[in-house]
């Protein structure tokens, strides 16, 4: 199972980085989302992978899984969700203002120099 999870994290990260290097905001945002999925699974794996054991103390438990990474993942999910919402809004705003959704700013700079 470790190998499976490692491959999953690796694939998500690689796809995320590839998409992040694209020119348009939409793939970049999807890439960021994939990357945050990868890190969420990674944090989960940081507490060691133990299947079928409870995280909360109970009298008849034979062992426990580490509950802290679950709390960390929850925090990370909430934060990355909020941040994704913010960047989607910003991307929409900049698309509406400038008429295209390219990420780089070079053409703008050329315009500024032409105006000056």
């Amino acid at each position: 199972m470790e190998a499976l999870i490692a491959i999953a994290i690796g694939t998500l990260t690689a796809s995320g980085i590839y998409l992040m290097l694209r020119q348009r905001t939409f793939p970049v945002i999807i890439g960021l989302t994939l990357l945050s999925y990868a890190v969420n699974v990674f944090i989960f794996a940081a507490g060691r992978i133990v299947p079928g054991l409870p995280a909360i103390i109970s009298p008849d438990a034979v062992g426990y899984t580490d509950p802290l990474p679950q709390a960390l993942v929850l925090t990370a999910i909430v934060i990355s969700f909020g941040m994704t919402a913010v960047i989607v809004l910003m991307a929409l705003g900049s698309w509406l203002e400038s008429g295209h959704d390219k990420v780089d700013m070079d053409d703008d700079k050329d315009e500024q120099e032409a105006r000056a």
């Binding site: 945002i29 945050s36 890190v39 990474p69 990355s80 941040m83 910003m90 203002e97 400038s98």
Partner: protein
């Protein structure tokens, strides 16, 4: 005994900012009064904490009274208190400027976002827990996104998208680093991590080195260390002037976090880490300084020039950090105080000029209102930033160079040559902006309102530089004790009252 004042710099803005959004959203005057009063209160609290920590060992604040390392802790030591004080002073100047120039009327919720930003910055300086540091980073970032696009506009929004994307990547890296550290040490309390890393079995050395590099890269992104500085010029040059001035402390949050983790968790004495951090940081810092100074010389607009001045100052700070001696760290901290105030002042001056001219381009254009006064402020500020006598930039660079005599040929050459470039760059900018304008005909807008408070804000920042110069002796004395405590963090770790390693099992 636990002093509840330690958490006040986080709780106060956390309470006031929502109140501003909920109850004063339509009353700008009330927002200004409450916002400024809160910042003044933060400064008073920071001053009290600063005085208390000067006489006492590092103090711990247990959130929810859970003992370390199980609960989240806040730690107040001399460095944290100093950074809190610096933040509060900078915030007062920025807020006065914003109120005077009506920047807060160009969009909604400026004062609420400003206080949330203060909450995040103060929290990042105070926390003693690595994951909590991540959370406070996110708090200060999300407030900074709002502030960065304050007033909107096409360029600002597009620069904002880049800024957010860059920081989301940084946050993801931070999480990877934290998860790796947790996987190796099983703890997130910074003092506890320090103890565990020092006693790490040899087989885990590779993993912790990866975690260290990931973590330091995250902070290097925040601190604009080459090759992770690309986001800074575009962001700062397109952000509203006063917001960019407030962001002068954000790069220092990165520097603070590097200093804290590099001295506490990953010191060169640790077998697993060794001199790895210093070996990577020194070349990067030298290139940062070089790029910053060349950027000053080549900048086409005044805000970009200010942004590169910020990068150059980060270079100098990181050069001093990379020596890992108390003397160099003390010099770096002195330079950090100086460069925060000086960089903020240049952004405010750039905003004054941009506002009066209608653009920030460095070309000869007609005279602006209050040109003489602005030119004088720019001149004084340029002297400070370039590191010329008599202001604190000179003393700061002298201290840094004095602390780095071991590597004389390389470091001194880079610092001195880059200073020369900066002098040239500022001289070029100043003469184009303020002298050539006399040749281009009538003033564009001679009746621009005087905005006295804006000059008070900039004057206050420059007065801070004069204060740093005049009281350099006592300040350096205080900083040397601070730096010595940073490099021997026994008291910091002891304050956490961690359970003994042996009894923990595992």
């Amino acid at each position: 005994m636990m002093s509840h004042w330690i958490i006040a710099p986080v709780v106060l803005p956390a309470i006031i900012a929502p109140l501003i959004v909920l109850m004063m959203r339509n009353d700008l005057t009330l927002q200004r009064i409450v916002g400024l009063t809160s910042t003044l209160a933060l400064a008073a609290i920071a001053a009290a904490l600063l005085i208390s920590t000067s006489h006492n060992p590092p103090e711990i604040y247990l959130l929810g009274n859970w003992p370390a390392p199980f609960g989240i802790v806040l730690m107040l030591d001399r460095l944290s208190a100093m950074m809190l004080m610096l933040t509060a002073l900078l915030a007062i100047a920025v807020q006065l400027y914003v109120i005077s120039t009506n920047w807060d009327a160009k969009g909604r919720h400026f004062h609420a976002l400003f206080l949330f930003q203060m909450m995040g910055i103060n929290g990042a300086f105070l926390t003693g827990d690595a994951f909590n540091l991540f959370v406070f980073f996110e708090v200060l970032l999300i407030a900074s996104y709002g502030l960065m696009i304050h007033g909107a506009g096409k360029d600002r929004l597009r620069a904002g998208v880049q800024y957010i994307a860059f920081n989301l990547i940084a946050s993801t890296l931070f999480l990877f680093a934290l998860a790796t550290i947790y996987a190796v040490t099983g703890t997130l309390n910074m003092a506890d991590i320090a103890v565990k890393v020092a006693a790490l079995p040899e087989g885990d050395a590779g993993l912790i080195r990866v975690a260290a590099i990931l973590m330091l890269s995250v902070f290097a992104i925040k601190g604009a260390l080459v090759p992770l500085q690309f986001w800074l010029p575009g962001t700062y040059a397109n952000a509203p002037g006063p917001v960019a001035a407030l962001f002068a402390i954000m790069t220092k949050v990165g520097a603070y976090a590097i200093l804290r983790t590099a001295t506490l968790i990953f010191p060169p004495e640790t077998a697993a880490i060794g001199t790895m951090v210093a070996d990577l940081m020194l070349p990067a810092a030298l290139v940062t300084l070089a790029i910053g100074s060349i950027g000053i010389l080549g900048a086409t607009t005044l805000p970009r020039l200010a942004a590169f001045a910020g990068i150059a100052s980060m270079g100098t700070i990181f050069i001093a950090f990379s020596a890992f001696t108390p003397q160099a760290t003390a010099a770096a901290l002195y330079y950090m105080m100086h460069s925060t105030l000086a960089a903020a002042a240049i952004f405010l001056i750039a905003d004054l000029v941009t506002d009066r001219r209608g653009n920030g381009t460095l070309t000869a254009q007609p005279r602006i209102a209050q040109q003489g006064l602005i030119a004088a402020l720019f001149f004084a500020n340029a002297i400070a930033l370039a590191g010329m006598p008599p202001l604190s930039g000179f003393i700061g660079k002298l201290l840094v160079m004095d602390a780095l005599r071991d590597n004389l040929a390389l470091i001194w050459t880079v610092i001195l040559v880059s200073s020369f470039f900066m002098v040239l760059g500022f001289a070029r900018a100043g003469s184009v902006l303020f002298w050539k304008s006399h040749a281009t005909g009538e003033p564009a807008d001679p009746h621009h309102s005087a905005q006295p408070l804006a000059y008070v804000a900039i004057g206050g920042l420059l007065a801070g530089l004069v204060g740093l110069t005049v009281f350099a002796g006592p300040i350096m004395g205080w900083l040397e004790v601070t730096a010595t405590a940073l490099h021997a963090p026994d008291a910091y770790i002891a304050a956490n009252q961690l359970p003994a390693l042996a009894t923990e099992g595992n």
